[in-house]
């Protein structure tokens, strides 16, 4: 196995562990105080106008009505179409949508490459002329997601780079890293496109490389654009967990654990148990109205240093 292959294993491992670490880090933080923001789509019968269970008289005596269908519908529109940008920032949507949709297609491309590689191993031929229907379908889906993803992604990346250069409000807030991230992805999209157009029109080469990677066989000699493309992909995987581009992880939490998190703290609930523990945490804030070293429970109930006079003395 060559250095490039090891590099790819390393980068995939870093990517997966990095994403897991990020998600765990957020998930293991204390439950915050409620910070709901309406509309919340899962409020059954009320989500469409932004209503909540607080509109019900004696709401705590009634079962909470949750509509997962509405929530999934809203999530799908946001994930697939980026509807918030569509509604509130159409200019950027024209670049951001193809960029993100291109990325989704490329995730699909990776999936179909791996699927194809596994099917190949089990003797199914992948290709337009394959006798197996699944072989034909996988072939077309691989080609469409690969080429489609690279083209859309490249269009979107160019649009985003140009927007950041020429639109003042974006330029003023963009830093070197933002341009680097977009340029890296653009390079990756273009490299993939060149490989697909020049040396791997039906994606078979990529599929066999994927097969070698998952069976830990050497990838062997590759025609010239491919090593560069693989290096860029590897570098991107390695780099991604250290950037805000992992916002797909963050977005799960910002929506589900903050904006749409409307669980009331009911007696005997998990929330209550957790909060009871947090109330024992010690505060070290130094302003005069907070006694140093007191726990949250003590600080909230002991109002003696409320004016701060004691501390000032």
């Amino acid at each position: 196995m060559g250095a490039l292959q090891y590099f790819i294993y390393l980068s995939v491992a870093v990517l997966l562990l990095g994403l897991l670490f990020k998600a765990m880090k957020i998930a293991r933080m204390p439950i915050h105080l409620r910070w709901d923001l309406y509309p919340i789509p899962h409020e059954k019968g009320k989500g469409h106008y932004g209503g909540s269970y607080f509109e019900e008289l004696d709401w705590w005596t009634k079962p909470l009505k949750v509509s997962l269908v509405s929530e999934v519908k809203e999530m799908s529109k946001e994930i697939l179409l980026i509807q918030s940008l569509f509604h509130h920032n159409r200019f950027l949507w024209f670049s951001s949508f193809p960029f993100h949709f291109g990325l989704y297609l490329l995730v699909g491309y990776l999936f179909f490459l791996l699927l194809g590689a596994i099917l190949n191993l089990s003797g199914i031929v992948i290709g337009a002329t394959s006798e197996s229907a699944i072989g034909v379908t996988t072939h077309y889906l691989t080609v469409i997601t690969g080429a489609g993803g690279a083209i859309l992604g490249a269009i979107g990346a160019v649009g985003l780079i140009l927007s950041r250069i020429f639109k003042g409000e974006l330029r003023r807030f963009s830093v070197k890293a933002d341009f680097f991230n977009l340029a890296l992805l653009l390079a990756l999209f273009v490299a993939l496109l060149i490989s697909l157009v020049t040396v791997d029109k039906d994606g078979a080469l990529h599929r066999s490389l994927a097969g070698n990677l998952i069976t830990f066989k050497p990838m062997g000699e590759m025609p010239s654009p491919i090593p560069l493309e693989l290096f860029l992909a590897g570098f991107f995987f390695l780099y991604l967990p250290f950037t805000h581009m992992t916002h797909f992880v963050g977005k799960y939490f910002t929506y589900h654990k903050v904006r749409w998190e409307d669980h009331p703290n009911l007696r005997g609930s998990k929330i209550e148990k957790a909060v009871t523990e947090y109330l024992g945490y010690k505060l070290s804030w130094s302003a005069a109205h907070i006694k140093p070293g007191s726990t949250w429970a003590e600080a909230a109930t002991d109002t003696s240093p409320v004016t701060g006079e004691e501390k000032k003395k």
Binding site: I26, P30, H32, L33, R34, W35, D36, L37, Y38, P39, I40, K46, Y49, G50, G51, S52, F54, E55, E56, L57, D58, W60, I82, S84, L85, H87, H88, L92, S96, E169, L170, R172, F173, S174, K176, A177, H244, H247, K251, F253, T254, V258, N265, R267, I271, Y278, L279, L283, S284, W285, S286, A287, A288, H289, W296, A299, A300, T303, V306, T307
Partner: protein, 537 residues
């Protein structure tokens, strides 16, 4: 320096005021305020004020931070700020919001979508410093530099660096009081980042670590609340006197004579008003008393310390103060043995006690809290009141949605159900409901009178609301038509009162503002005279 080109890194420069405010830059208002000369003039600070207080952000001194006299003083303040910043990202010190804050720090894509939603940024004519992401970007750079491992090195590499000095911190302190925490920006963010939360958390560094906060929120606000019983300074004795006065007034205005229940143990409901109502708009608690009496609700008011003032200013700047006040409210309810607390027409007390404090109320402190709007809608729908909507026929009514009740709690329909039942000429502002705009008095602004801040509040923060009101009544804008802005929130009413008075809106356009219960009582057929006293506004 041209304010349009102000960059985040300019926060640290030592070149004096960062942005000049020129009223001609603000978005023009609809008629009859479509000429700049018809607008109230914003006063500059006096030379003395400029010398004494930090005002190098935009020439406004809302917080009135004394200018440090020596470099040593500045250094102490900078160090304190940085130690507060560290505590904000420490689980024990800030378990209350660390998760939400970290998400906002980590994942902003700098797409500026949030800017399209912010009334302050928009109405100011697009002043960079008021952009929701501007404040957040300062904070994010600080986070990356001082909290993330290797931050000082990496921020130089990525271009996220920011110079930290007292000039920057003083501007930032003021900047945290140029956002009403309406969270309209967060509603539009594709990532779910929350620049309103950034304001909230920054205010906590200043208050909880540095002891810097707005006097009306802290000393006159939450401290006085805890010590005297009310942020208005009203003592329990004065509260009881006020109730007696209001009982007499109800008799005079309606002919109804009844005793208001105070400290009635075992009542179903503890009704918690914003004490500002008793002083500024007694007709509001009076209308509540009339409705609850007529509907036969078992309720009580409390004369315990804090039991008659539902405000909780900690909500806007200090988690410890928030918790203290919330617990006192609950203790009052516990003592009376009520089944639930019902919050009067005060948006922030709704959110503070029902939503934000929810997760600190464990065990028997977890007494149910409910909005009066929900209870009132039930009373109106149940037919327990004799109502005739034609009694409100000559009044064009629009509804202001308090952010705290609507966007931040999801109580949208009950107030509309009521208005549809009692007001034939009810019409909606654009936009409304969860997308509505803040009155401009949110996050404590309505009670902040310092230096020239009220001018800024009228001309910038409240501009969008004034525009909405003028727009919705544009076809009947002349003074011959009676118009009413129904604002079921004390804080919003405070802001609208000042806003309307600054622009002479009642005199010029005959637009009155008030609560919801007053309109309900105005439609009650048991009461002979109109309850709304139009000319005595």
């Amino acid at each position: 320096m041209s304010s349009k080109k102000v960059k985040v890194t300019d926060m640290s420069n030592n070149q004096g005021q960062l942005t000049e405010l020129n009223q001609a830059d603000f978005l023009p208002l609809p008629p009859p305020y479509d000429k700049l000369e018809l607008e109230p003039k914003m006063k500059p600070l006096t030379p003395d004020q400029r010398q004494r207080y930090e005002c190098d952000l935009d020439g406004i001194a809302a917080v009135m931070i004394p200018r440090p006299k020596t470099e040593e003083e500045k250094k102490v303040l900078v160090d304190k700020f940085l130690s507060g910043l560290t505590k904000l990202f420490n689980k024990e010190d800030n378990w209350t919001f660390i998760q939400a804050l970290l998400l906002t720090m980590e994942y902003c894509a700098k797409c500026q979508t949030c800017s399209t939603a912010c009334p302050i940024f928009e109405e100011s004519g697009g002043k960079e410093i008021y952009r929701p992401s501007y404040r957040a970007d300062v904070m994010r750079r600080l986070y990356k530099k001082y909290i993330k491992p290797g931050g000082k090195f990496f921020t130089k590499l990525t271009g996220d660096d920011i110079e930290v000095n007292w000039e920057m911190i003083a501007r930032l302190a003021e900047l945290t009081y140029r956002c009403t925490l309406c969270r309209r920006c967060a509603q539009t963010c594709p990532i779910g980042a929350d620049n309103g939360l950034v304001t909230h958390e920054l205010r906590k560094i200043f208050s909880q670590e540095m002891g810097i906060s707005v006097k009306q929120l802290h000393e006159v606000g939450s401290v006085q609340h805890i010590q005297k019983g009310s942020s208005t300074g009203m003592t329990p004795l004065a509260f009881k006197d006020n109730v007696e006065f209001m009982e007499d007034e109800v008799k005079e205005r309606t002919g109804m004579e009844f005793k208001w229940p105070i400290d009635k143990a075992g009542a179903d409901v503890l009704l918690l008003h914003n004490a500002g109502e008793f002083l500024a708009w007694p007709e509001n608690p009076e209308a509540f008393a009339i409705i609850l009496e007529a509907a036969g609700i078992s309720y009580t008011l409390s004369s315990d310390l804090l039991g008659y003032d539902g405000v909780n200013y900690g909500l806007w700047y200090d988690d410890v103060q928030l918790a203290r006040v919330a617990l006192k409210h609950i203790e009052t309810a516990k003592k009376l043995g009520v089944k639930k607390i019902v919050l009067g027409e005060c948006g922030h007390s709704h959110k503070a006690l029902t939503v934000i404090a929810d997760r600190i109320l464990t065990g028997d402190y977890n007494i149910p809290r409910e909005s009066s709007l929900t209870l009132l809608a039930d009373i109106v729908k149940s037919g327990r009141l004799k109502l005739d909507k034609s009694r409100n026929e000559d009044i064009y009514v629009t509804l202001h949605d308090p952010c705290n009740v609507v966007r931040l709690m999801g109580i949208v329909e009950p107030q509309r159900e009521i208005l549809r039942a009692i007001s034939p000429k009810f019409r909606e502002m654009t936009p409304h409901g969860v997308e509505n705009y803040c009155c401009g008095g949110g996050s404590g602004f309505a009670i902040m009178p310092n230096t020239n801040f009220p001018d800024w509040r009228h001309s910038v923060a409240g501009r969008k609301k004034l525009r909405q009101v003028l727009d919705v009544f544009q076809d009947v804008i002349g003074p011959e038509h009676k118009k009413y802005v129904c604002a079921p929130c004390s804080n919003c009413k405070g802001q609208i009162r000042e806003l309307f008075s600054a622009y002479g809106v009642f005199e010029r356009c005959n637009i009155l503002y008030g609560g919801l219960v007053e309109l309900i009582v105005n439609a009650m057929t048991d009461i002979e005279k109109p309850f709304l006293e139009w000319d005595w506004h």
